[in-house]
Structures are given as structure tokens and as C-alpha cells.
């Protein structure tokens, strides 16, 4: 396996940053965010897990999908092609998050053209986790701290530097510029968290849909969008046509797509005012069920990769792993339902 020193890695990253956009974890006022960097020196080396996932680089928080110029003639222009970019320091869970979004946006017909463009233009360079952190539970949902699924290249910290695993063709092309030494090396096993609950099959979730547990958890849900926005797999969005500018005779309208969340009350409200999920308990339950039942049944992938960001970010301590454990507990002891 190719081993690179920190210096060689930095050199490679600096060269990438010259040629295209390099996105990596940086620290902003104490928060770790994936942002464009000019060189490897700006990267927040030694980070554990970022506060926001790199999702925005494949599925931007805001983007114009097309522009309509309304005048004597009407012209519709698609949005500009996305810039080629490399996202460095992607954790294995976040890469699986991209695969989860692919299950809907790429693998269903019709594919989401805009997302497909971003995906094609982006190379994901992963960094293996030496351990599972405080709120991580990737192993519960089929992931691993050193998993390479969804990545183009995976780097693992070893003595003296990093071991480089090329995972895809895109990764191979990018790794060609990476100088290193071929060495035999045994990759360290990541330290796992013990005592995590078991994720039950979708049928069990279906059976527990009407449990009062969901109401009790939702009592404290504020109905904000934090969990959805920090999540690497959440992909619901709002689309609105907005007048961007106008002058006499011409109006420019942008069709904007922006992140949205099923946790807010207006999300599922339809024309006429009816809301199929009028209570917070229905909305919160929907979020969990989408991840662990609807999405896997409809699109073949779990909607959760166990990154734990929602657990840390939720201001009222709603814990998705607790929900998984509750379902497992109820399944094991159906008579003790509270």
C-alpha cells in the first residue's frame, strides 16, 4: 500500500488547490465546517467530527436551478455547470451519506440532474476514523469507522503518515499525483463503541408506529431544522420561483432550490391549508420512520449513517440512537410497553 508522509500529503493537496476547488474541514469561531481552502495549511488537522456534514458540496443548501428571462421573448437558461472540486477529509459515515442520497437522486428515474452534475464534478477523499467518537453509531447502521464505501480515495493514519487506498477510477486519476512509498503495512483497527443497540428491521418499526413513545419524545421537539440540516442524508428541499431582478420590459426569475425539513409545521401543508402531519409528534415520528423504514423500503438504503451530529446538535436532547434502542427494547419486551 502506498504510504505518504504529512508533507507529501500537504504537497498534493496544495497542488489540487491550485487547479480546482479544494474543500476541507476548517475551524470557524469554534465550529468545524467543510469550506474551500487555499492550501493545506488552512485545514483543521486533528479534528474528530465536523459540525456540518459535507453534504452541501453535493447538494447545496441553496442553488438556482434555472433562470428565466421574461421579456419580448422568453429565454430559459439552466444553472451554470458546477465547478470541479475535491472534498478532503470526508469521514466514512459522510461518504455513506452521499450513497444514501444517491439512492434517491441518482438511482431513481428521472435522476436529479443538478445533483448528478455535482456528484460527477466532485471527488471525495476520505479520512478513516481511528475510533468511534462520543455520539457515533455507524456500526449500528451497517457502517464502519474505516469503511471505504462511497469514497474515491481513503486515507488511514499510520505511523509516519497515511496509508492510501484508491477506491474508484476517479480516485485513481486524482491519486496519480500523490507521491509516496509502497510499503507493507497493517492498518490499525478502529476502536469501536460497546453496548450499542441493535437496529430492528422495518417490519418492527411498522409494528410500533402507534406507540406512545413517539408522542412523549416529541413533547420537547421544538420543530426547528437543526437535525435535518446537520444530517448527511437528509435531502428534502423547497423550490421557489423568485423574481431576481427586473428592468423595463425584462424580468429575470430564478428557480431556487433550498434545504427544507419535515420537522417544521408548514413542510407538509398543502394548498387549501390541510396538513397531513398537523402535530409535532407526527412530524418527529416521520423523521425517524423516513430514516429507518420508508427510505429503506422505497429506495433500498437506510436514511441514517450513524454520524451522531443530530444527537449533539439537538437543543432539547432528542437522541436518534435512543429511539433505535427504544424500538429494540419494545420488540424484545412487547408486554412492558409504557
Amino acid at each position: 500500500m502506498k504510504i505518504v508522509t504529512q508533507a507529501q500529503l500537504n504537497q498534493w493537496l496544495d497542488a489540487i488547490a491550485e487547479e480546482k476547488m479544494l474543500v476541507a474541514p476548517v475551524e470557524v469561531e469554534g465550529k468545524l465546517l467543510y469550506q474551500p481552502v487555499d492550501d493545506s495549511g488552512a485545514i483543521a488537522w486533528g479534528y474528530e467530527r465536523t459540525d456540518m456534514s459535507p453534504k452541501t458540496w453535493l447538494f447545496p443548501a441553496t442553488e438556482p436551478i434555472l433562470t428565466v428571462e421574461e421579456g419580448l421573448e422568453t429565454a430559459i437558461r439552466p444553472a451554470q455547470d458546477p465547478e470541479p472540486k475535491v472534498v478532503f477529509g470526508v469521514r466514512p459515515c459522510d461518504a455513506r451519506g452521499a450513497l444514501a442520497i444517491d439512492a434517491l437522486f441518482l438511482d431513481q428515474d428521472p435522476a436529479d440532474g443538478r445533483y448528478a452534475q455535482h456528484r460527477a464534478a466532485t471527488t471525495l477523499v476520505g479520512l478513516s476514523c481511528p475510533q468511534m467518537w462520543d455520539s457515533c453509531f455507524c456500526t449500528v447502521v451497517g457502517g464502519a469507522p474505516n469503511g471505504s464505501e462511497g469514497l474515491d480515495i481513503l486515507l488511514t493514519e499510520v505511523e509516519g503518515g497515511y496509508a492510501v487506498q484508491v477506491v474508484s477510477e476517479k480516485g485513481e486519476a486524482l491519486a496519480a499525483g500523490l507521491q509516496g512509498e509502497e510499503q507493507a503495512v497493517k492498518l490499525p483497527e478502529p476502536v469501536l463503541r460497546e453496548g450499542l443497540p441493535e437496529l430492528r428491521a422495518t417490519d418492527e418499526w411498522r409494528a410500533q408506529f402507534d406507540e406512545r413513545y413517539w408522542e412523549r419524545v416529541a413533547d420537547r421537539c421544538l420543530g426547528c431544522r437543526v437535525c435535518t440540516f446537520v444530517c448527511p442524508t437528509c435531502r428534502c428541499f423547497d423550490v421557489r420561483d423568485e423574481v431576481a431582478t427586473h428592468r423595463p420590459g425584462v424580468r429575470v426569475i430564478e428557480r431556487l432550490r433550498a434545504w427544507d425539513a419535515c420537522t417544521v409545521s408548514a413542510y407538509r401543508r398543502i394548498a387549501g391549508g390541510h396538513n397531513p402531519r398537523p402535530t409535532q409528534h407526527m412530524r418527529l415520528r416521520n423523521r425517524f420512520y423516513c430514516k429507518f423504514m420508508y427510505y429503506p423500503e422505497d429506495f433500498g438504503a437506510l436514511g441514517c449513517v450513524g454520524c451522531g451530529r443530530c444527537i449533539d446538535a439537538c437543543p432539547v436532547g432528542i437522541d436518534i440512537l435512543e429511539a433505535v434502542a427504544a424500538v429494540a427494547e419494545t420488540a424484545a419486551h412487547p408486554e412492558a410497553v409504557g
Partner: protein, 305 residues
């Protein structure tokens, strides 16, 4: 628990100590659930990972879930907005009991004045408070707070020792400092702070004063602001939210506590509180009768615009 300005004596030390605040809260909750027709007691509990979170207690047997400590920070009064409707057809509006710090309790007066709740439907379990902490650090709001006993309560939970109102800092020192900067410097400051904002609306949802069915930031018609998660929209949202709370904000700083990006939102609210105090001598939530300044006027006044 820092115990800087009050002493919290653990039960089991020298008698006859007053029971701990936590024990008193549990007793009050038990009494409400058993004796008075309270549907729910809203307080704090610790989750399995040790973090404090809101607790909703429905049975007297569960009151031991309730805790109190320096890390208890959300304004629980905000949940009263979920309890304003009858629980079923033909039923009365429920009564709930809420654990409230002095800052939180002011929100009760505000909401009574704004006819969102009736006084007899809310039982305030008021706490004498020496300040709470975020991540082990005393909250900014607490350093400026001169209030130790809530302005409104049905049951007063008293701390062991003397809870003095030793105010450590001038409430508006940081605001005054920012006022001395140039407009461009302030713009750059807020641009860098709002840049991190993800428009999650946690601040709005946590605030007891924000209870509009449809926020102007989400309205489609009229279309006030774009759905984009970009700086101008975030600037718009925070400025307008702060303004909609002018004279109504109780200074609980729940907005800042819940922000996932640690944006210093309370500066906006405290700036307005400073101006409201200077112009109108008004402080939100003193009592349920006095109207917030923007909902009333004085024909004689002349303000510098």
C-alpha cells in the same frame, strides 16, 4: 454546579437544612399532579448521556425524573404554546406547571398580557436563581442579571443559602463597545457571525415570544425574503426577529443557548432592550398589565429618530 453566589447544600449534611432545590421541585410537581388538576409538569431531566433536556411529567410517580442544576438552560415557558388548545373536543384548556427561572418567568407575564395564556392555566414553579451555565461557563445573561426571585410564581423554590443579586458586569458593556465601532466594522462583524447561520430557526422555535403560525421568513405571499440560506436572508431574518421582539424579549437568552453555530444572538436583543429601557423606562415582563412600548404610545413624547 458552580455555587458561586449561592450555596446548594447536598441532602445529608447538617440538619435542619432546607431540602435541595431539586427535592423541592419534585415535591411541588408531585403536589400539582396529585392534588390539582394539572395535566403536565414541564421541568428538566437528565438523559442517558447525562445531558439536561426538557422533561414532561404526567404521573406523580415520575417526578423523580426532575432535576435542577447549573446546566438547566432552556426557557421552558416556550412549551406553553403547545398547551393552549383543549386536549379534546368539549374539554377545557389544560393547566400545566412549568419550572421557571426569573428570566423565564417574565415570559409568563408577557404571554398573559398578549392573551396567549390565562394566569390560572399556568402554575409557575419559580426558582430563586444564582445563574446557570453553558458548557461550564456562566451565561452572559446571568452575569448581568440583577434578579434572583421570579416576578411571578405559584410556588417558590428557594435555594439553601443567601442568593445575592451581585451583578458582576454592566449589562450593556459589550453593546456600548460595539456602538463605538464604525458601521463598516459592525457590518463585517455581523456578516461573519451570520455566515455560519444555517437558518435552522432553532432560535425562533426556542423563544417564548415567537409564536406566529406563519413566520414572515417563511411566508410565500407576501414574499418578504428568499428561501435561500444566504447572508442577506439571514441578516433579514435576525434583524426582523430581533425587532419583532423589541420590548418583548425577556432576556432568557434561550436563542443563543440553542444556536448550533454559537452565534451571539443575544447582542441584538440586548441592544434593543438597552434602547427600550433608555427611551421608555420599560422592562419586559414586570407584570401582565403594562403594555410593551411598541403596542402603545405617548402623545407628548418626542423621540430622536
Amino acid at each position: 454546579m458552580s455555587g458561586q453566589k449561592s450555596e446548594r447544600v447536598e441532602s445529608g449534611t447538617a440538619a435542619p437544612a432546607r431540602p435541595t432545590m431539586e427535592a423541592q421541585i419534585r415535591e411541588a410537581a408531585r403536589a400539582y399532579l396529585e392534588d390539582v388538576a394539572v395535566s403536565c409538569v414541564i421541568g428538566y431531566e437528565r438523559g442517558p448521556r447525562g445531558n439536561v433536556r426538557p422533561a414532561f411529567i404526567y404521573e406523580a410517580d415520575d417526578v423523580d425524573r426532575l432535576v435542577w442544576g447549573a446546566d438547566c438552560n432552556l426557557n421552558l415557558v416556550t412549551y406553553v404554546h403547545n398547551w393552549k388548545q383543549p386536549l379534546g373536543r368539549g374539554q377545557p384548556v389544560p393547566t400545566v406547571a412549568i419550572v421557571a427561572r426569573p428570566c423565564d418567568a417574565r415570559a409568563v407575564n408577557l404571554l398573559i398580557h398578549e392573551q396567549q395564556i390565562q394566569r390560572d392555566k399556568v402554575k409557575v414553579i419559580g426558582l430563586t436563581c444564582a445563574g446557570t451555565e453553558i458548557n461550564g461557563q456562566p451565561r452572559l445573561a446571568c452575569q448581568y442579571c440583577d434578579e434572583r426571585v421570579p416576578v411571578v410564581y405559584d410556588v417558590l423554590i428557594e435555594a439553601e443559602g443567601e442568593v445575592t443579586a451581585a451583578v458582576e458586569a454592566d449589562a450593556y458593556e459589550d453593546i456600548a463597545e460595539m456602538e463605538s465601532w464604525t458601521p463598516a466594522e459592525r457590518l463585517a462583524y455581523w456578516a461573519s457571525e451570520f455566515d455560519r447561520c444555517i437558518r435552522c430557526y432553532a432560535c425562533r422555535q426556542a423563544c417564548p415570544g415567537c409564536y406566529c403560525f406563519e413566520c414572515v421568513a417563511e411566508q410565500v405571499d407576501p414574499h418578504w425574503t428568499s428561501i435561500a440560506l444566504e447572508l442577506p436572508e439571514k441578516h433579514f431574518f435576525h434583524v426582523m426577529r430581533a425587532f419583532h421582539l423589541a420590548g418583548r424579549c425577556v432576556g432568557c437568552d434561550a436563542c443563543e443557548a440553542v444556536c448550533p453555530m454559537d452565534i451571539p444572538l443575544s447582542k441584538l436583543n440586548r441592544k434593543l432592550a438597552k434602547e427600550v429601557e433608555a427611551m421608555f423606562g420599560y422592562r419586559t415582563g414586570d407584570d401582565p398589565e403594562t403594555a410593551p412600548p411598541l403596542t402603545t404610545f405617548d402623545p407628548q413624547e418626542q423621540l430622536r429618530l
